[in-house]
């Protein structure tokens, strides 16, 4: 198994505060890596450094063996790295289908074909498939802003998959989602992982969700990696229990 994502020695400090302090890890193809840790341990900052939203103060990020540190988020996305955000980030005034087309359109053709070509960039079919996959039929033409929170969350996650990414970083996909919807979401993510061999990194507080979905779990505390391993191993790790699960 080759590493899709290699992170080595990423550091990020804001003023005098070091939020991420030399984090290194690999993610292999088809893996679902869970990333857990107490609030403020640097998980989201780490994500933002990997994805080019923030410039790391040190260290290196490789995707498929290619150094991508310092690339802009849009460039990374073109390389097949996709993400969701902690807070809901759909486009409320666009319809569900439009949201999905938007999420995929930059992966089709070039600037000229996106202007002079068809309005849906040839993605209507793919969008409808995605809508079906996430069970959002009936809502395809609704404005995203009018959907319930859970439905918007599904859409948000669905958007991350429109460009056919190799690697998806999900920042608290389960946050604020009710129980029924949660099961649905987990099942969908597992299905994509199976069917498309997509690789995930998931930040999540819902332990149940992480333990049942992820193949490997990394625990962060105070900007450093505390533990890494199979869900069961991590669950049994005394340091983790002390720092995190113990609370």
């Amino acid at each position: 198994m080759s590493a899709v994502l290699e992170v080595s020695g990423i550091k990020k400090s804001f003023g005098g505060i070091t939020a991420v302090d030399g984090v290194s890890f690999d993610v292999h193809e088809g893996e679902i890596l869970g990333l857990i840790g107490p609030n403020g341990c640097g998980k989201s900052t780490l994500f933002n450094c990997i994805l080019g939203q923030l410039t790391p103060s040190g260290g290196e990020v490789k995707v498929d063996g290619k150094v991508v540190t310092g690339l802009r988020p849009s460039e990374l996305n073109k390389l097949g790295v996709s993400r969701t955000f902690q807070l809901l980030q759909v486009f409320p005034k666009l319809s569900v289908r439009e949201n999905l087309i938007l999420a995929g359109q930059e992966h089709q053709g070039n600037m000229a074909s996106r202007l002079f070509g068809p309005s849906d960039a040839g993605l209507s079919g793919a969008a409808d498939q995605m809508i079906g996959f996430f069970k959002l039929d009936h809502l395809a033409t609704e404005q995203a802003g009018g959907l319930s929170y859970g439905q918007q969350k599904l859409l948000d996650v669905a958007m991350a998959f429109m460009g056919g990414p190799r690697l998806v970083l999900l920042d608290e996909p389960a946050g604020g989602v009710n129980l029924t919807m949660l099961g649905d979401l987990k099942e969908r993510l597992a299905a994509i992982n199976r069917e498309k061999r997509a690789t995930f990194v998931v930040i999540e507080h819902n332990m149940e969700f992480v333990m049942s979905l992820c193949t490997r779990v990394m625990v962060m505390a105070e900007g450093k990696v505390l533990a890494m391993g199979k869900p069961n191993e991590v669950r049994a790790n005394p340091a983790v229990i002390e720092a995190y699960l113990g609370h």
Binding site: P92, K93, Q143, L147
Partner: protein, 333 residues
């Protein structure tokens, strides 16, 4: 009423408006035709700004300067005997290029600084129009600007030239309609609503921002190219900062980010003062008051009122749908 009937009604209404714009003015006097032509020209400029501001979310205070660049290009070239259509091409290229270059410094910093850069540009453009006598004839202005011959027809009479303006408005409307429903238009909306999310979806926000601004500016140039032969005389004064602010007002008052916003906004800005002229010295005061009251009532402009109403209905419909959708998802899970 079913969705299909509604759609046909809407098309029928649109056709009626277009037919009215074509046929009703045939009986207008020259004044009425001039005002309507002015409305068409200002609508084009406002559509450009609506693209920049309403769709892509960039505040430009230089749209009036781009109208000026277009007008001067047309005036200078056509008084030298060159065809207006050539001037149109030059205006578009020139305004597009200047818009692109102006956008660069603004991208380095937070987005509201584009407003400041364009404010400065607006003043600079005015000074160039006024001071570079050799090119623009300075404060004296350029007179005797000819109206074009199109397909062998002279358009120097008010009615034919109104059709030139209306036709241009039609073409621009179609082009803008195409643009905003293309993936570009979607990308513009995305970078207005949430640039960070847009970036994470692979949308090159810098390039799209520059494009939106450059295309919007180019439409300002198109409007200017028509403005020069419409008034047949131009001097620098009409293209100062206040035109840019007027255009901004048109976009906001009509409804920023709505396709039909500029049409209504230009109508308010061009026609409302004319209707109020019967009040003599009070007409501009009343106009200002009307704009203020409208904005207090609906800060999102005229179309914002409509949108609010539609959103309310849609939310109701959507929550009804959710009720239907819920059991399905639950059974699926």
């Amino acid at each position: 009423m079913s969705a299909a009937t509604k759609k046909y009604l809407r098309i029928a209404f649109g056709l009626a408006v277009i037919a009215a714009l074509i046929f009703v003015p045939m009986n207008f006097n020259r004044y009425g035709l001039f005002i309507l032509s002015q409305w068409a020209v200002m609508t084009i400029a406002a559509m450009g700004l609506n693209l920049t501001l309403g769709y892509a979310g960039q505040v430009s205070l230089a749209q009036g300067a781009f109208v000026g660049i277009g007008a001067y290009t047309a005036a200078i070239m056509t008084t030298q005997g060159l065809p207006l259509i050539g001037a149109l091409g030059v205006s578009i290229v020139l305004c597009f290029a200047i818009g692109w270059l102006l956008g660069y410094p603004a991208l380095r910093v937070q987005h509201h600084y584009l407003a400041f850069v364009t404010l400065a540009f607006s003043t600079l453009a005015f000074l160039v129009f006024r001071n570079e006598d050799w090119l623009t004839k300075g404060i004296y202005g350029i007179s005797n600007i000819p109206r074009p011959h199109l397909f062998g027809f002279a358009t120097n009479k008010p009615l034919p030239f109104y059709y030139v303006c209306l036709g241009s408005l039609g073409i621009v409307s179609l082009a803008v309609w195409w643009l905003i429903r293309s993936p570009w238009g979607r990308a513009f909306v995305a970078l207005r609503e949430n640039p960070i999310r847009a970036l994470s979806l692979g949308i090159d926000t810098r390039r799209y921002t520059l494009m939106a601004f450059a295309i919007g500016s180019a439409l300002g140039g198109v409007a200017g190219t028509l403005y020069a032969p419409l008034t047949q005389y131009i001097d620098p004064v009409p293209f100062n900062l206040s035109l840019s602010l007027d255009l901004l007002m048109m976009v906001i008052v009509g409804g920023s980010g709505f396709y039909f916003g500029p049409f209504l906004g230009a109508m308010i800005a061009v026609l409302l003062p004319e209707w109020l002229r019967f009040t003599q010295g009070y007409y501009l005061m009343l106009y200002a008051l009307a704009v203020i009251l409208l904005l207090i009532y609906s800060p999102t402009g005229i179309l914002g009122i409509l949108d609010r109403y539609l959103t309310e209905r849609r939310t109701k419909a959507a929550s009804a749908l959710r009720e239907v959708a819920k059991p399905k998802l639950e059974t699926a899970a």
